[in-house]
Symmetry: C2
Subunit: 153 residues, 2 copies
């Protein structure tokens, strides 16, 4: 189903909450209470987001987490990569050593096209978009097809 993991889903919920009042420092405990996600799980997610430079953290009493930049500059692609690693639909698109399938696998180039398309779609939606009321987004819902898009002249 091309599903992303629950942790990534949680991450968007957490970040959406933090983006509503950005600049503010939130403790993991507070986020857990507000979102209803268990504290250890929240911690795990926040740590991953710090490693990916989506959040910055301060330790000690009064410490916590805050957005590293404005919600406009945080894309869905960045969030997904932080939690799940590089966006690639097939195994062979990541490890460059190609697949061991003897005969008919010269299709990896085509997967790369698809990967790029998906990546760009995910890169095009930011955290700021996510916290807008839904109505504003609906007109954008009619969408893209590669064959209609005359990119190569």
């Amino acid at each position: 189903m091309l599903r992303l993991s629950k942790l990534t889903d949680y991450a968007t919920v957490i970040l959406s909450f933090m983006a509503k009042d950005n600049e503010r420092i939130c403790a993991a405990m507070e986020i857990s209470t507000v979102t209803g996600i268990a504290l250890p799980t929240v911690s795990k997610i926040l740590k991953a987001l710090v490693n990916a430079h989506v959040l910055v953290s301060t330790r000690g009493t009064k410490g916590g987490y805050a957005l590293a930049t404005t919600p406009e500059n945080i894309t869905v692609a960045t969030i997904i990569i932080a939690l799940e690693g590089p966006i690639a639909v097939t195994e062979c698109s990541i490890s460059q050593q190609g697949c061991e399938q003897a005969a008919g696998c010269n299709i990896s180039g085509h997967w790369n096209v698809i990967n790029r398309a998906i990546y760009n779609a995910l890169e095009s939606v930011t955290l700021a978009d996510m916290i807008k009321p839904q109505e504003t987004l609906i007109p954008v819902a009619s969408l893209y097809r590669i064959e209609n898009h005359n990119v190569s002249q």
Copy 2:
């Protein structure tokens, strides 16, 4: 990583082989030999593709599988849906009952935009594209961004 399953990956390999000489009826055994994928696994995939009307089958001696339509009419989206079910990046985009997260989940509408973008990207590549030599595809690799695409007038 937004990965699709191995079975789906195998399916594209199998279909690429079948598309090279379409119209021809291939037995599961033959496909297994050619692709190097174990027979029971090949069978499982072929059955799923028949259920999704991507392939048609004939039983009995001299039976086997053939494409249900031309490679131009079989999209990557169709193949993925056949093996993995509907394309949806989050759980809540499938089950319409919404998530139980108490507070801040009014972002499902935004996921739908992303789902549509991904779906359309996958719908835009056909089996016929997949069996073309890679070179022809590379110019298309510069890609799409929602914000540049003035769809709603």
